[in-house]
């Protein structure tokens, strides 16, 4: 039987099931095959904080969304074209996101009265007509998997666990994905359990063959590879890219990397990753708490290492006092905040941008800290290098604001040539730098570089430069304890001027305004870059003009930001918080910026942002 093959330019698939069903693994594998095939892609894992929430409940649903295309795309997609639901809970939790006409593949095996009742279905949605708006494929994925694995020697329970691979096989057939990589992966993952490995491979193949032979799937699809800049690519998640950026910064600065960290979602993967790379001289210290994590990193910085601490919002709250100490000591330190929903424990596995104010101002006293934010998963690599550059050149703690979406989402990354990475070498102080009143040479730890205002970095072990630093206010130059009012005023202003001066080393903000005639500018920061960009494309495709600009540096702002803002009639600032950047922009530039805010724990939908932009354009141009 030869089946029809249809060409598509883009597809959004969402795999959803119980948190024990292996949906993240299934999504990861589909992603790898899609990346290897050469599509552009973007992913959105979404899972509960509980490791194993009660089976079959709405709270336990875990999902993985993947958007892939034959052209460059910016988001994991607003609404899935295809939903794979492994049980009634997964269907119920996700069906509202499906567009009319979308495809739903359900594992009908678990649509029992009891399972339905558990999530509040009175009648089976497969029978009561409530899914009439969709193309529903009822497939007994579990039963077919059990059938395929008969005689494998596995218990019924173990065999049933391979149903995710059956589903992956089916979807791989539907979208003409290569399969060799997954088979290789399974054999490697279960190398010590060959029976399990072969069962998973068998289930995966059975899923593929099911698609190929069954009458119920008559069409398969092809999404051609995307035209991308020439080069070698890999798929990479934000936390991995950030870890690599830190290792690259260590290599390019010639300083050993020291990570002090306490496990916290969604930042722990950075600790896990860096702990694998001791061969690069990386030392990772799993501390007794968040405070010890940053304390140890700061101690290592004092000793001449590239000190780094990684955490999420609650951890930053605990580290605040030590960040203030680092501001006072003027030592390099990279503080990574992978933001999640707050306040308090909030939504540990969901994304948010609500720590900007904490990063900016969450300390006692005037304690300015540079703030850098990546815009996409792969961009976490470059943002980490930039944070390290600022920390090392200006001897200051730097806040690197990633978020849960960037951390776990992934996209293709054009792998850079190591020789093209920025040179981050620093000179440690080795010589006395001042002459006292008696004409004798001495060392002044707070004698600043006239250009950067950075103080010299003399590390222990350097003869003749023994000195003491600390959190008590220091006299300008000599670094002795000083309670002099004028000196304190000078030091506060000087520390601020040092951070403000970083603006001279950062590129001007670029504006994407293809026609040059837009009256509305959309300004964003961090992970909203994709949704804002996709929304702007939609608006332009509908024949309207809109400009987009995105901030990497939140403190200091690029020098030309005020000028850029002044060129537009309206400035729209969408954020996954209640308006933190817009408050900063309004305060700093007296611009009547319009905030558009959501704190749903999920990225913006491009469609929705496009509506907001379109409405604003018609208001503006209609005035």
């Amino acid at each position: 039987m030869s089946k029809q093959v249809r060409q598509l330019d883009r597809v959004v698939i969402r795999f959803a099931g119980d948190s024990g069903d292996g949906m993240q693994l299934t999504g990861d594998r589909f992603t790898s095959e899609t990346a290897a095939f050469g599509n552009d892609l973007s992913t959105l894992p979404n899972f509960p904080a509980e490791i194993r929430a009660p089976q079959g409940t709405m709270a336990g649903v875990s999902s993985f969304q993947l958007h892939f295309a034959d052209h460059d795309i910016m988001t994991p997609g607003d609404r899935p074209d295809v939903l794979v639901a492994m049980n009634p809970a997964a269907l119920k939790a996700n069906v509202a996101d499906m567009p009319r006409g979308g495809t739903i593949i359900v594992d009908s095996h678990d649509f029992t009265k009891r399972a339905l009742a558990k999530v509040g279905y009175e009648a089976s949605p497969l029978e009561d007509g409530s899914l009439d708006a969709y193309q529903v494929h009822e497939v007994d994925l579990t039963g077919l998997t059990l059938g395929a694995l008969e005689g494998s020697g596995l218990s019924r329970k173990d065999a049933g666990r391979a149903k995710n691979m059956f589903a992956l096989g089916l979807l791989s057939w539907m979208y003409s994905r290569p399969t060799e990589g997954t088979e290789r992966f399974l054999r490697k993952k279960f190398a010590t359990k060959p029976t399990i490995a072969e069962a998973n491979v068998a289930a995966f193949r059975a899923g593929w063959n099911f698609g190929e032979t069954t009458e119920s799937f008559s069409i398969s699809y092809e999404v051609k590879p995307a035209a991308m800049t020439a080069g070698t690519y890999r798929n990479i998640s934000g936390n991995l890219a950030l870890s690599y950026g830190l290792i690259a910064a260590s290599q390019r600065s010639g300083l050993p990397l020291f990570l002090g960290a306490y496990p916290i979602t969604p930042a722990s993967d950075i600790l896990h990753e860096l702990s694998k790379h001791k061969r690069f001289g990386v030392r990772t210290f799993q501390a007794e708490d968040e405070i010890a994590g940053i304390g140890a990193a700061l101690g290592a910085s004092f000793g001449g290492a590239l000190g780094v601490t990684t955490t999420s919002g609650p951890g930053i709250a605990l580290k605040s006092e030590t960040i203030g100490l680092a501001v006072s000591l003027e030592l390099p330190l990279v503080v990574v905040d992978v933001q999640r929903g707050g306040p308090s424990t909030g939504l540990p596995t969901k994304t948010e941008q609500s720590d900007l104010m904490q990063a900016m101002y969450g300390r006692n006293g005037e304690a300015p800290v540079p703030v850098v934010a990546p815009r996409s998963p792969a961009d976490c690599f470059w943002a980490a290098l930039e944070a390290a550059r600022i920390a090392l050149a200006y001897r200051t703690p730097v806040m690197l604001l990633s978020d849960g979406y960037l951390a776990n989402g992934s996209e293709p990354w054009l792998i850079p040539d190591v020789d093209d990475l920025p040179d981050l070498r620093v000179d440690f102080a080795t010589e006395l730098n001042h002459t006292d009143a008696k004409g004798e040479a001495e060392y002044w730890p707070y004698l600043r570089d006239p250009e950067t205002l950075a103080r010299p970095w003399a590390v222990p072990g350097t003869p003749g430069l023994e000195h003491r630093i600390g959190g008590i206010e220091k006299a300008d130059g000599s670094g002795n304890i000083s309670y002099d009012p004028a000196n304190h005023d000078l030091m506060v202003r000087t520390r601020q001027a040092k951070i403000d001066g970083i603006a001279r080393s950062i590129p001007p903000i670029e504006v994407d305004d293809p026609s040059g005639e837009a009256s509305v500018l959309v300004l964003g920061w961090g992970s909203t870059h994709g949704p804002i960009g996709a929304a702007c494309r939609r608006v332009r495709a509908a024949g309207q003009q809109v400009a987009q600009a995105h901030l990497r540096h939140l403190n200091p702002f690029p020098a030309n930001l005020g000028e850029v803002l002044g060129k537009y009639e309206k400035v729209l600032i969408p954020e996954m918080n209640l308006g933190q950047l817009s408050m900063m922009v309004r305060a700093r530039y007296l611009v009547d910026a319009i905030a558009y805010n959501q704190v749903r724990g999920l990225p913006f939908r491009a469609e929705e942002l496009a509506d907001v932009i379109t409405n604003l354009i018609s208001d503006t141009d209609g005035e």
């Binding site: 790898s32 990346a35 790379h277 001791k278 030392r283 004092f302 000591l329 003869p463 003491r468 630093i469």
Partner: protein, 367 residues
């Protein structure tokens, strides 16, 4: 001050363990003197403070180690004692309240060539920083922690501390404090610290001998130093200093020697079969053969713990000297070993290694 300190129980014991302590720290050929370790900063403790005696002892003792001065670092927290680093001409950091052990851990673990010292107080180490203290001790980071215990909060002007006796009348406890105190030595032993000692600010010779033993220990050394705050808790340790009482209250422990004290050696420490611990007995009653011979190298920390429990809140009885000194690999060394093992297993240079890392195993090429 002579180069050798006459405390055979301590120094001899450490040498017996064969720990080549401080082997990673560069030595100097040039003779050092006390003045070399004095900074140019004016010392600002209250006149009569016990801290002066400890500072003088440390400045006098550091030259004995023969280490390059630039490879010595003092890290402190917050409190009167934590001003200590400013007065020593070494590298130093005056950090934040309670966090010195954490900061020093990062420094020591990343720089095995440094001799890292922590100066802290009873509030700093046991109250706000209690967590960092116990974790540094259990990890056996190569730190020398000097805990100045004056049983009061001095810098905040006289509130009770976590080592104050129950019922202490202070500004914050006008009807007497309710909290049962920590015994710092017991706490450290509970965390299985590899080196725990106690000494007193007023006994320069004993203080110096304990500092030296701590310096020679490879791993975390906790030294509790009873220190008089003459402003807010004056005379807190007088019973251990007054010639009329000290012999009956103070038990000087020496490794390999029977635990005997009191005027004319009338008292001693014996095993107490009813509790499994130790107790103080009259030698006349139990005989000299029953006295416990001090062994600081007993691996099981419960012996040293039992010694620490001889003291009550009223300081009767107070053993001083080294409670415990045992060998266990340091955190710093173990961490360095892992890094070196990983580096030894790879033959690629770092640039090639970085390229390979960034590429990973799953790439595709667009032409």
């Amino acid at each position: 001050m002579t180069d050798t300190v006459e405390t055979p129980g301590i120094t001899g014991g450490v040498a017996d363990l064969g720990i080549p302590a401080l082997r990673h720290v560069p030595k100097t050929d040039e003779p050092q003197k006390t003045a070399d370790f004095k900074s140019d900063q004016e010392v600002r403790w209250c006149p009569g403070c016990g801290d002066y005696a400890i500072l003088a002892a440390v400045q006098g003792f550091l030259p004995q180690l023969g280490l390059k001065r630039e490879n010595i670092v003092f890290v402190s927290g917050i409190g009167c004692s934590s001003r200590f680093p400013y007065y020593l001409n070494t590298y130093g950091m005056h950090s934040i309240h309670g966090r010195a052990p954490a900061i020093a851990t990062g420094l020591s673990a990343s720089r095995p060539d440094l001799s890292v010292w922590v100066v802290t107080g009873d509030g700093d180490a046991l109250s706000i920083g209690g967590n960092h203290l116990i974790h540094a001790l259990r990890r056996n980071v190569n730190l020398k922690i000097l805990l100045f215990n004056n049983r009061i909060y001095g810098l905040t002007k006289g509130q009770y501390s976590p080592t104050s006796e129950v019922g202490k009348i202070t500004k914050s406890t006008p009807m007497g404090s309710l909290d049962y105190p920590f015994n710092p030595v017991s706490l450290a032993l509970g965390a299985e610290a590899t080196f725990v000692a106690r000494t007193i600010d007023s006994d320069r010779k004993h203080l110096t001998s304990v500092l030296r033993a701590a310096a020679e220990h490879e791993g975390t050394a906790l030294v509790e130093i009873y220190q008089n705050c003459n402003i807010f808790n004056d005379g807190a340790f007088d019973v251990l200093k007054d010639p009329s009482t000290r012999d009956d209250w103070l038990l000087r422990m020496e490794h390999g020697q029977p635990l005997r004290f009191g005027s004319e050696g009338s008292r001693g420490v014996v095993r107490d079969p009813s509790t499994g611990g130790l107790r103080v007995a009259d030698v006349a009653e139990v005989g000299t053969d029953a006295l416990v011979v001090h062994d600081a190298h007993t691996d099981d920390p419960s012996y040293a713990f039992a010694l620490s429990r001889l003291s009550g809140q009223d300081l009767a009885y107070t053993p001083i000297g080294v409670f415990r000194s045992v060998e266990r690999p340091t955190y710093d060394e173990l961490m360095t070993n892992q890094v070196e093992t990983a580096q030894g297993a790879s033959d690629a240079d770092s640039a090639t290694g970085l390229t390979a890392l960034l590429r990973g195993n799953d790439t595709w090429t667009v032409v």
